[in-house]
Subunit: 226 residues, 2 copies
DNA sequence: AAGCCACTATGATCTGGATCATAGTGGCTA
DNA sequence: TAGCCACTATGATCCAGATCATAGTGGCTT
């Protein structure tokens, strides 16, 4: 893959869309491409933060393990989204592991290269501040949800969040949805079954199609109109 | 309070420590000071993000309410720490409410002023990226904890986090600790009583003194060596 | 076309921690 | 100096959701 082509990939991201052709080519020149099969890890929690990553194609998840070994999914990222950035900016070990969930191509930029690139491109720094702010906002909402809302609402909100990001067809298994909502697979299945009965979603193996967003929104807000 | 004095206050913060006297005075000139008594709100969740804030003296907490009205504490902030920044950078309503927990003095800078100041001070932007990264990292750890660890460990970790930030004397009631750990006051009290029995903490009304950090660390990591 | 495995499904039981109740106590206000 | 209120304390009960168990099913591999 040429530097220019890598530049084009980078352009599709939120962060770098404002760069011109030449700058993109420079950045592309710093980027190294790699492929991962489903299940393979890009990095592990605790690794040294040598690389800043962006998904070029496919999908990855960032996860953390609990002391009992249970997996919790921080987030899924698709094309054009960066990950591993927290570690790079802080220069501390990655706080979570990144695992491909599909055939995935990622671009990696060395930490030092990326930081010096950033240093003389203030508008990129501002974009990054924006993205981090958004992620922090999300994380804080989820914190509140995990601490104070019941499973039903957490699941409903998880689906809504995915809906607003990906549209009505969600390529996730119940297990993955459960891991995002912080519950068990069984509970997620039971909940989804009820949604199906209520005509709120339709589903095929590994996929969920949202049919009625407004009903879902109701569920996410309060006790089910008891 | 003069602009220069306000500048001195700002200098004590992590973000602005690198600015020189004159720049600090400029920034000080943009800042407006206000006072809050314990319990008073600086802003409410949902308010327009007109101000960027920094604590000059005292302490505030940022909290969110659940759909049932329960309060969850996102974080406490003391002198030199910024808050409300997520809203300012994203230009979306504040995602949480900010409430003074002590007699508190804050400096506020108008959103537009702060953003234009930032635009031509890239090194400040990088500092902010650092702080946001740190907060995101914390939030993600807490997410994992809330989703997958039991209350005991969450409480132990909450105490450790406060310890690393504030030292061994923690000026919080059990209720406040419970709200941070995402549990109830009763559960926090029971847990703290056991810590007292074990000689791990000492406590007086509204305060907790940590005596044995390493035992606390053990508790935070696994089941209590059953 | 057999067999396997990941995914979906559903019932039965168990339990951590919330909830409810009641009370002691120290500091602050009137 | 009385009395109130926020905080600490502890016992009793309850329940949402985890855990355990068992099974059906569709797609992919060999």
């Amino acid at each position: 893959m040429s530097d220019r082509v890598k530049g084009q990939v980078l352009r599709q991201s939120t962060i770098f869309s404002s760069l011109d052709e030449d700058e993109l080519a420079v950045l592309g020149g710093l980027a190294i491409e790699s492929w991962f099969k489903p299940g393979e890890f890009i990095f592990w929690e605790g690794d040294e933060p040598d690389w800043f990553y962006m998904v070029a194609a496919g999908r990855i998840k960032v996860l953390k393990h609990s002391s009992l070994g249970k997996e919790f999914v921080i987030a899924f990222f698709g094309s054009g989204e960066m990950f591993g950035e927290v570690a790079v900016f802080e220069n501390k070990p990655y706080p979570g592991s990144a695992q491909a969930v599909a055939e995935t191509r990622v671009l990696g930029i060395r930490r030092s290269d990326f930081r010096s690139f950033l240093a003389h491109r203030p508008e990129i720094a501002l974009k990054i501040i924006n993205i981090l702010s958004g992620r922090l906002r999300d994380a804080q909402s989820r914190l509140r949800d995990l601490a104070a809302e019941r499973v039903e609402q957490r699941l409903a909100r998880t689906l809504l969040m995915l809906y607003s990001k990906l549209g009505s067809t969600l390529p996730f298994t119940r297990q993955e949805i459960a891991d995002m909502a912080g519950t068990t697979t069984e509970t997620a299945i039971r909940f989804m079954s009820r949604l199906k009965e209520g005509g709120i979603v339709r589903s095929v193996r590994g996929k969920t199609i949202i049919l009625d967003v407004s009903k879902l929104r109701l569920l996410s807000e309060g006790p089910p109109a008891a």
